[in-house]
């Protein structure tokens, strides 16, 4: 379905790779019929990370966090990133957002290098980051007002309310962030991001602090919005089930320092997904195991299997795995 971009393999990790791995290079164009559906025009790449590296310098110490991260995300794809904590997932997300610049390599959005943040790449931050001196409505209103200054006052107000109603906060418009629950705060954060009418939604462990019930409700909501608004979603998470349930691709990060993409797992389950049915299916169990195995191996310092293998799963879905740097 997604043109096997993810299954591009490159032979070896680390030094000595002559050509940096690039997703969706010219070669891929030929492999059009692969996914069964004729591919959309690939001439413009939607979102692309090219050989991105990031080094922080704090108090004279250099921390090389990420290295040689290359990834292409087509429009409307839902990509999750998992990896051990501290491996640089958030760093990757902030670079896509434009909040941090890569030390080398580049992030390209619609063929143009990302140099600064913008409302077309909205971020939902890990700890909601609502402005505590503004009501729920006023928080969303600020986004609408700054992104759509040309609309009339009334239209802007309606828009802000529209998004809050969409995430189920109709009753809480005039409350302050400290007066609502964690789930509601996160909903407000999502409403604020969506109110910018972004093309890409960047989620940094959006549901990490929530109880399981709230979390699953919000996952369903994000999935619905992804379909409805034709969003491209890039989600950092530490919840494997969440990653498998929501994503078209799960990107697994190596451990830091100098982390890179260890493996990419395609989730070919069609959408809309039936939560319970999918989670009970064998395919789900398979995907889940793959992720777990990867994380286990990474944690215990052993390499995952050195060969690319395609696993046939009963539920008529194929998982293509790739081992990258």
């Amino acid at each position: 379905m997604h043109q096997n971009i993810s299954s591009t393999e490159h032979p070896e990790s680390g030094k000595g790779v002559p050509i940096a791995p690039r997703w969706g290079t010219a070669d891929d164009k030929g492999s059009g019929g692969h996914g069964g559906r004729s591919p959309p025009k690939r001439s413009t790449k939607f979102l692309e990370l090219i050989n991105v590296a990031k080094t922080f310098t704090a108090d004279g110490r250099r921390v090389e966090v990420l290295e040689k991260v290359s990834l292409e995300i087509p429009r409307n794809q839902f990509v999750s990133v998992i990896g051990h904590s501290g491996c640089g997932k958030s760093t990757l997300l902030t670079m896509i957002a434009g909040l941090e610049a890569p030390t080398s390599g580049s992030v390209c959005f619609l063929e143009r290098e990302v140099t600064r943040p913008g409302p077309e790449r909205a971020v939902v931050f890990q700890n909601h980051s609502l402005l505590p001196w503004r009501t729920v409505l006023a928080n969303v209103q600020l986004a609408v007002d700054t992104v759509f200054p040309k609309l009339s006052r009334k239209d802007r107000r309606e828009r802000a309310e529209h998004w809050l109603v969409k995430v189920g906060l109709k009753e809480h418009l005039h409350k302050y962030p400290h007066e609502i629950s964690g789930g509601m705060k996160q909903r407000t954060g999502i409403a604020r991001a969506l109110a910018m009418e972004p093309q890409v939604l960047l989620l940094d462990e959006p549901f990490g602090a929530l109880d399981a019930l709230t979390r699953s409700t919000l996952q369903d909501e994000v999935l619905r919005l992804h379909q409805e608004q034709h969003l491209t979603v890039f989600m950092v998470t530490h919840d494997i089930d969440e990653a498998v349930l929501c994503s078209d691709r799960v990107v697994m990060m190596d451990n830091g320092p100098r982390a890179t993409i260890g493996r990419i797992l395609d989730i070919t389950e069609p959408r809309p997904r039936e939560r319970v049915a999918f989670m009970e299916s064998q395919a789900f169990a398979h995907y889940r195991t793959e992720c777990l195995r990867f994380l286990f191996w990474r944690k215990h310092g052993r390499e995952p299997e050195p060969v690319v293998k395609a696993v046939q799963v009963q539920a008529a879905s194929t998982a293509s795995l790739a081992i990258a740097g």
């Binding site: 909040l99 600064r116 913008g118 790449r121 971020v123 402005l131 505590p132 001196w133 700054t146 302050y176």
Partner: protein, 343 residues
Amino acid sequence: MHLLERAAITCDRLGFSWIAPLLRLARGDRPSHQIRLFLLAVGTPLLAITAALLIWLALATQVRIGNLAIPGPTAVWDRGVEMVVEWQDERRRAAEHEAMIAKAVADGLTQAEARQMLNFTEKSTFASQVLLSLRTVFTGVFMAVLIAVPLGILCGLFKWAHALSDPLVQLLKPVSPLAWFPVVYIVMNALITTPSQSGDWFPKSFIIAACVVCLCAMWPTLISTANGVANVERDHLNVARVLNLGFFARIRFVILPAALPHICTGIRLSLGIGWMVLIAAEMMAVSPGLGGFIWNWYQSSNETALSYLLLSVIVIGMIGFALDRAMIIVQRMISHGAAAQIR
């Protein structure tokens, strides 16, 4: 929620913790508990004040230093009453004067003519001196805030601004108002060449005292503002960046509201310092404010002088306390959620 309970919560939040039990008592919420709370909140300060008064009374009646009699609480109380009576008399005199002018105008004179004929100068009373002092301190602190907040924002936003200003701030911060006074006095004398008139809204002594207050009081606001601005949460700044807010929109919608509690703390400290500095500044400027009042009694050889001086000490203390309380209330009103705990 019940209206009384809501009022009680508001009282608690604003620091009137002694009113809240009364409101809850009126609602019938665990009466004995509320009475205990009320007694605790009101009784302890009352007890302390009573004890202090008793000790003062004992000292005044028992102790003599040479031939100096220490005025007791009753003597000072009498002075207070005297001041109130004086103030009321003056009000009555002013009202009578206005009535006479009205009569003259009714008899066919113009306002200006009538005023010129029936010359009247309001005598300065203790109350008018207190009001003038308050006006001076508010003017001085207002000027301080006008200068310190923008500078503080600059210092909080830009490292270079902080690096440039920090040595100067550290150097000027500890300078006493007594050191500032002559400088301000000479500069203002050169600046303002028209002689000040008694009816002036801004007499020279007022301006000088206000400037000294401003110079001494601006530092806490400056430092607090810079701290508040420099410590705005990274996430909130990132929100501003994702929204592509411009420089001024960022300051208006994110930085100022986030730093507001800090700014308020700074202003509260500034007001406290300003009030302390004011008395010294007024004494030296011979302003007709509280400082002037103290200066006059200090200069007089009247044997009741000490009771007037003690009265002004008490009034200064009470006003300072009231100003601080008022600022705490403002601070609590503008802070949200977790920030509601004010030190």
